[in-house]
Symmetry: C2
Subunit: 343 residues, 2 copies
């Protein structure tokens, strides 16, 4: 009934616990017959090694911590999915915590995960990257290697701190350029959460795109937002209130874009006829809106995978470097040529 341990097996096999331990981990110095015998016995008894006990002695828990702003955000969910898959393929588990977009909760969550001695920490869309420098913990006794920290969608210089990012500036620039080629001259931008780094980068990309395409900067066309569905209605009001209103909007992410689509439909603003809309992320839902959303793809699952791969590399003592993945414009239906105003 009670879980079978290595000593139970040892007793039954008439060997010492250490022999069992070796047999189970395919240690070289053990006779093949013994090994086979013990492995078979272990299987028969349904033996499962205690990760906790193992973790105590080895200093590795075969576990990565993941802290994210909110799983409910499809972008986050996709990254998490990729990370989970990669982790499991390598025999790792994922200890998960949420910050609800609060920097304080984020750090708290990270501390808790570190208390559980995760072998690495992955933070998706960190709101407090600067704080991690001090927080470096979890030294491996033997190698002296810290638990690596991987920032997804953010960046911070520091020992043992890595990042997996998307080329936000490039993506945003490409979107603006696309709109310009479609014929738009008044292009608005709905910004993302104030604290986030990707917000700043996408805004920068938008601005670069505006300038590069020979358009004058128009501060009144940059609206604040939070990267949520709820941004939509509010943003639409603001957009329509501007003198010489925009004919196109690029949104911080798909969620805001979808919110905007809904608000536009409600207000009788035709998309893309009267207003072109572009999102960012290419979440699965963006292909199922009406009209289907034109957006900038971000390789979400790949970012999750890369994050755990980075952790793994660091733990193996291999070289590791920050990763920047490219986005790609996905043309669908929500952006089109600006329509001539009927006088």
């Amino acid at each position: 009934m009670s879980p079978v341990s290595i000593v139970d097996i040892a007793r039954l096999a008439h060997v010492s616990p250490s022999t069992v331990s070796r047999a189970l981990q395919d240690h070289p110095r053990i006779s093949p017959e013994r090994r086979a015998e013990i492995q078979m016995l272990a299987e028969r008894l349904g033996y499962r090694p205690s990760q906790v006990a193992r973790g105590l002695v080895t200093g590795r828990t075969r576990t990565f911590g993941v802290v994210a702003t909110d799983v409910t955000d499809p972008f986050v969910a996709e990254v998490l999915k990729g990370a989970e898959a990669a982790a499991r393929e390598s025999g790792y588990g994922l200890l998960f915590a949420m910050s609800n977009r609060s920097p304080v909760l984020e750090i708290e969550a990270a501390e808790v995960l570190l208390d559980h001695q995760v072998d690495g920490l992955i933070v998706i869309s960190s709101r407090a990257p600067e704080q991690y420098g001090v927080l470096a913990r979890g030294v491996d006794r033997e190698t002296g290697v810290l638990a690596p920290l991987v920032l997804v969608n953010n960046e911070h210089a520091g020992a043992n701190i890595f990042s997996v990012r998307n080329d936000n500036e490039g993506g945003a620039r490409e979107a603006v350029t696309y709109l310009r080629h479609l014929g738009h001259r008044r292009i608005a931008f709905i910004a993302g959460p104030a604290g986030g780094r990707s917000s700043g980068e996408r805004l920068a990309g938008y601005r670069q795109g505006i300038l590069a395409n020979g358009l004058g900067p128009a501060p009144e066309l940059v609206l604040s937002g939070a990267g949520l569905l709820e941004d939509g209605p509010c943003a639409l009001d603001a957009l329509l209130g501007v003198a010489d209103p925009p004919t196109a909007v690029m949104c911080y992410n798909d969620l805001a874009a979808i919110g905007l689509l809904a608000a536009a439909a409600r207000a009788g603003v035709r998309v893309p006829g009267a207003l072109s809309v572009i999102g960012y992320d290419n979440i699965p839902l963006s292909a199922y809106t009406v009209p289907a959303l034109t957006t900038v793809e971000q390789p979400k699952a790949a970012m999750g995978r890369e994050a755990v791969t980075l952790c793994l590399r660091v733990l193996c003592g291999e070289s590791a470097a920050n990763i920047v993945l490219q986005g790609q414009l996905i043309v669908r239906e929500s952006a089109g040529p600006p329509q001539l105003k009927r006088s």
Copy 2:
């Protein structure tokens, strides 16, 4: 540099490690001054107890395992969010794994989590509930209490197995009744994943609703699906292909309904004019579709919270019982009276 342990503190405070241990956990039998002194010292040194070491001796890791089909499903994400919040409030962490809807992977994932000695296991939308009977592991040495298993959105009889469910039959019945009152007589149903229990229950509720409202069963109106966005286009084709086509459809979940909405828009089928659509779950996005989706609310976050609360109760030796939460019809725009056919 290396993490400070209880003996480091003991040395500095000129006391024994056990005294430190007691001071840190507010043990009654210790002098207040010592306790204060030690706690202060611990704080100053930045001491953090090793959950791993503690777990090894106490048999409790302050961790619950969660295995879900796919975080990318908004329903799952919401449940997970509720669970995470409740867990953290109680000082627990969540070890997370995904099954990708595969029964085999689900059980594997559960085993892995159990290897990490989670104090309880929460399975969201299990596809293999029968398998858990055998799998009962993780006996607490002192109390002899097994790690409880909580099935969210499923059910299975067994010692230490509990469930948190939604009244799927009731919810589906209510939706059908609503459609009937709107005037519909030909009401279709797009089913969910074949293996899932909620699929069966919602289908049953649909059938009950059909009968209770004086409509004859029409097997040709029950379509298969998987609870995904991709169900939409396919289902629409099937729907339109039926002789005497339905004027309303109830979908297994919001995802399928949203897919259907998109397909309908593409095909020029007006909703709700030509076809009324009702979903299930009330995911955040359902309020932002065009038209906004009428759906059956499921208290997702509450289900997650209840799941960890159940685990906690069992661990405390308190009484625990299965939980059934009620749904509620959320009337929005995607369902309306059937429109008269223009000859």
